[in-house]
């Protein structure tokens, strides 16, 4: 057969499809080579095992959570989990309100507590600051010598942490009562000993330190070790914190970044007291520490007495770091605390069983669909099978890519979405095949039936896929949690369905229609015009299926004649006697 334009078009479509598939595979391969990607999609917790915790903010009625607050909370929680040494945790927001934390394996209680506790921001005066070495005894800088003899850290060391508490209880009372929070008399021998052996990695953020006792802690990056006095101002007393450039009195900016804090009434008063005292001190004792979740995020020096409750922190800030500190001050102090809404621990065994069962179910479903297609459409059913395979390959790589680029994780609900999609995808082929068959029944040749059937079918397929995609999109945007995973796979497969039916199923059929096997309407082709009773030529018109009749063998022509009669008689009843009717010799 001569290369007609539909054939060329068909090959072009198939080439495009090949390009798309090769492109997807190449993209994925690039991902694997660059180290970030993988040939398999990442699995969600219900398939992989692990713990998922959903935190919901505890809100007063009418109170709402802003996205800013939420993302700040996410970053605080991320810091907490990372500091607990848990790797590969994922923290996301959900529905503009909740926070979802996914941790592989089963977290210990300390990690769980750490996640749930609300951020605690405090201002404490610095008593001692030193480099965070296990060997340091806290006397290597300008700070005052501890009053009592410090024990040798090498002898005591970090080995006897168990006895620390007992020792602390014994020696908890300072020999001289401290007069204020900055007084070095706050440091008891037990505290000094603890400080000496303290490692920055020891910070236990799960235990909220008592506000009226000294605290041993480190700078958040572990660069400085501190003994801090009792809490002077609590984070709740911050009404606002912003970052900006320092301005001179004439209003010109100096180019130096600063964090501006605004205290409320109580905070202003308390802060005035602290700065009055601290500004009279020197060295480390001149500093006050801003403590978030037990770690010092900043320890600025006190340059002046601040009585208006609007201190400005300057130092080696740039725009980003000043913004970060301002956010931490503002949101870290926010009274949103989170409550655990649900906590799921899925054992790895159950996860892999679920995945396995899901895959088996999918496979069985697929085999059943294939069998049914073959029974219904004979060899045409193979086109369905091939189309499903192409759709499956494209979907697989899309999901793998999504999981690499967007962190998508395939959940059980997602797997269910994929399996359900088998049916909906196959339906497009059914709609198309039925249209082609309808055209055949109307007496057209196969090649033109394929074209005419396609023009009608693609309209229907686009319309119905639009509705399906709409459902998936609405679910994806509005729903939460598992529903989203499901909606994503459903929406994705709807798009893939359109792609495959246009770039694979239709071109394949166009080409097949030109083969002898299908074009002659072999019995097993599923497009046998005789079996389809190709007689009726639409309303008010009958035509002898001449091209068909010419191909017919002896026995089948008799059969066709019989059928034709029935169809004609019925049609005649329907359309009445007034219609034009071209009879052929076979009409008895």
């Amino acid at each position: 057969m001569a290369k007609s334009s539909p054939t060329k078009k068909a090959w072009r479509s198939l080439t495009w499809l090949g390009v798309i598939i090769v492109g997807l595979i190449a993209l994925n391969g690039a991902g694997v080579l660059s180290g970030g990607g993988s040939w398999t999609p990442k699995l969600a917790l219900d398939l992989e095992g692990g713990t998922q915790i959903i935190l919901a903010p505890k809100l007063e009625s009418g109170q709402t959570v802003s996205n800013e607050q939420l993302s700040q909370a996410v970053s605080i929680i991320r810091q907490r989990i990372d500091s607990a040494g848990v790797s590969e945790s994922e923290i996301n927001t959900q529905g503009g309100q909740n926070i979802v934390i996914s941790i592989p394996g089963t977290p210990d209680d300390a990690t769980l507590n750490r996640i749930q506790s609300s951020a605690k921001l405090e201002f404490r005066p610095v008593i001692v600051a030193s480099a965070p070495s296990a060997d340091s005894v806290g006397t290597d800088d300008s700070t005052a010598e501890p009053t009592d003899g410090a024990t040798d850290p090498a002898a005591e060391g970090a080995t006897d942490t168990a006895t620390d508490e007992a020792a602390a209880a014994e020696e908890a009372t300072p020999s001289v009562a401290p007069t204020d929070a900055s007084d070095i008399n706050n440091i008891t021998p037990a505290l000094q000993e603890q400080f000496d052996s303290f490692q920055c990695s020891d910070i236990d953020t799960t235990v909220v330190a008592p506000a009226d006792e000294p605290l041993i802690t480190c700078e958040a990056d572990g660069s400085v070790k501190y003994i801090l006095g009792p809490v002077e101002v609590s984070g709740e007393n911050i009404s606002d914190a912003t970052n900006g450039q320092v301005t001179t009195q004439s209003g010109a900016t100096t180019g130096e970044w600063a964090v501006n804090i605004v205290f409320d009434g109580t905070g202003t008063e308390a802060f005035a007291d602290v700065t009055t005292r601290l500004s009279g001190l020197t060295g480390a004792q001149n500093q006050f520490a801003i403590v978030l979740d037990g770690s010092v995020i900043s320890a600025p020096q006190t340059l002046a007495v601040i009585t208006d409750g609007k201190p400005q922190i300057t130092g080696s800030f740039d725009q980003d770091t000043s913004k970060a500190l301002a956010d931490q001050l503002k949101f870290g102090a926010l009274p949103i605390s989170f409550a655990v809404q649900s906590q799921d621990t899925i054992s790895a065994t159950l996860g892999s069983t679920q995945l396995q069962s899901g895959l088996i179910a999918g496979l069985i479903g697929l085999i059943l669909v294939v069998l049914y297609s073959l029974v219904q459409y004979r060899l045409l059913g193979l086109v369905t099978v091939a189309s499903l395979i192409v759709a499956g390959v494209i979907t697989y790589f899309l999901i793998t890519l999504l999981s690499w680029r967007e962190g998508y994780r395939l959940s059980l609900a997602g797997v269910a979405g994929l399996i359900v999609a088998i049916g909906i995808t196959a339906d497009s082929f059914i709609v198309y095949f039925e249209r082609v068959r309808d055209e055949l029944r109307d007496g057209r040749g196969l090649v033109s039936s394929v074209e005419a059937g396609w023009r009608r079918a693609i309209r229907t397929i686009i319309a119905s896929d639009t509705v399906n995609f709409l459902a998936a999109a609405v679910l994806f945007v509005l729903a939460v949690g598992n529903v989203r995973g499901f909606a994503l796979t459903l929406g994705l497969t709807t798009l893939v369905d359109l792609l495959v039916v246009a770039l694979f199923t239709h071109p394949t059929l166009q080409l097949l229609a030109r083969t002898k096997f299908f074009g002659d309407g072999h019995k097993l082709s599923g497009l046998d015009p005789r079996a389809l009773g190709a007689v009726y030529r639409g309303r008010a018109r009958f035509e002898t299926p001449a091209p068909v009749a010419s191909r017919k063998g002896g026995t089948s022509s008799k059969e066709a004649a019989k059928r034709q009669t029935i169809a004609e008689r019925k049609a005649a009843e329907l359309i009445g006697t007034g219609s034009s009717k071209s009879t052929d010799g076979k009409d008895s």
């Binding site: 049914y372 196959a426 709609v431 029944r441 729903a479």
Partner: protein, 342 residues
């Protein structure tokens, strides 16, 4: 195969025709009764059975246990929390599920350990969930928002595509019918409503409308092709379209239902209660009801809505007259001809 082909051929030519649109009163009555049952049934039964995700509580699942003695689990829980009344059930072939009221963190840890030792499995093999009561409500809230948004959007899209709001209305009514009946079956049988089942319900939205669009597209094609000389009334054309797409409807339903049924079987018998079973059950019911409602509710309702339009009524009369003229004797022709306005 041959007979099914024949069936399709006959439906296509109109040789075989099920008078679906004409008997719409029957279908309306059936739908009315079904909806009534779907609403009254759950009420009489005492409402829906909600899963732990909606009621809140703690749940433990032990997989790969060697014994399925449920007392063992009850004792294990009561050892830790004496006042707890655990619901123990066997799920799948070798898993045991224990549900209790909300436990504290410490309690659930101890219960977990206690269950693990009672069934002599590794504690890591015990899945534990704690679900606050607001979780399910959150999901439901967002599901209802999604439902309403979808109905508005899909209605608009359909009205634009088919260029008549009556098709959109007919499709929506069929959709609501599907949702009510699916929910009703859940209520009557006491299947647990879990977030996964809610996902299933939501998917029915898409599927039910999808199915309706395919059939409506054929209806639109048939009715718009009817010229002034057509002997088919509007209802006839709709009916023919339904019949012509019947093979497609059957094939599509079978193909769509097969994978879902296989998830259901695997989900229910191998895994026991869980996401897969809950999604697929809702889907299976919804798909079957969805296909049914497209044919028996959406199409007749659409014909019903349209046939009182003056233009269509006029054309229907003409078509009836032509049909009568064609089949009846000349006596009958004059008889009906008198009714036809010139």
């Amino acid at each position: 195969m041959a007979s099914f082909n024949q069936f399709g051929n006959d439906l296509h030519t109109g040789k075989l025709s099920y008078d679906i649109v004409g008997r719409r009163k029957v279908w309306y009555a059936v739908a009315g009764v079904m909806i009534l049952i779907a609403i009254l049934g759950p009420v009489l039964r005492g409402g829906f059975t909600f899963g732990i995700e909606f009621t809140g509580g703690s749940q433990f699942v032990l997989s790969e246990v060697s014994t399925e003695e449920q007392d063992l689990a009850t004792t294990a829980v009561n050892d830790v929390v004496p006042e707890a009344v655990p619901k123990v059930s066997v799920v799948g072939t070798d898993s045991i599920r224990v549900q209790t009221d909300q436990l504290t963190d410490t309690e659930s840890r101890e219960v977990r350990a206690s269950l693990a030792s009672a069934f002599s499995v590794d504690p890591a093999q015990v899945t534990s969930s704690f679900i606050g009561p607001s979780w399910g409500q959150d999901i439901t809230g967002s599901a209802i928002r999604a439902l309403l948004t979808f109905l508005v959007l899909a209605g608009t899209v359909m009205a634009l595509y088919f260029r008549t709001w009556k098709m959109a209305v007919a499709a929506m009514v069929a959709l609501l019918h599907d949702l009510v009946i699916t929910a009703g079956i859940y209520g009557i049988t006491g299947f647990e409503i879990t977030p996964a089942a809610v996902i299933g319900f939501l998917t029915i939205l898409g599927y039910s409308l999808y199915d309706t669009v395919v059939v409506f597209d054929k209806i639109r094609e048939n009715t718009s092709e009817d010229g002034p000389e057509s002997r088919r009334t509007f209802a006839d054309s709709v009916n023919l379209a339904v019949n012509q797409t019947l093979v497609r409807s059957i094939n599509t339903s079978v193909v769509a239902v097969l994978p879902v049924a296989s998830i259901l079987v695997i989900g229910a018998f191998v895994l026991g209660a869980g996401t897969l079973r809950d999604i697929s059950l809702a889907l299976l019911i919804g798909m079957i009801v969805g296909t049914y409602s497209t044919i028996f509710i959406a199409a007749p309702l659409y014909a019903h809505l349209r046939e009182n339009e003056p233009e269509i009524r006029k054309r229907d009369k003409k078509a009836l007259a032509l049909k009568a003229k064609a089949t009846e004797t000349s006596v009958a022709t004059t008889g009906t001809g008198a009714d036809v306005p010139a």
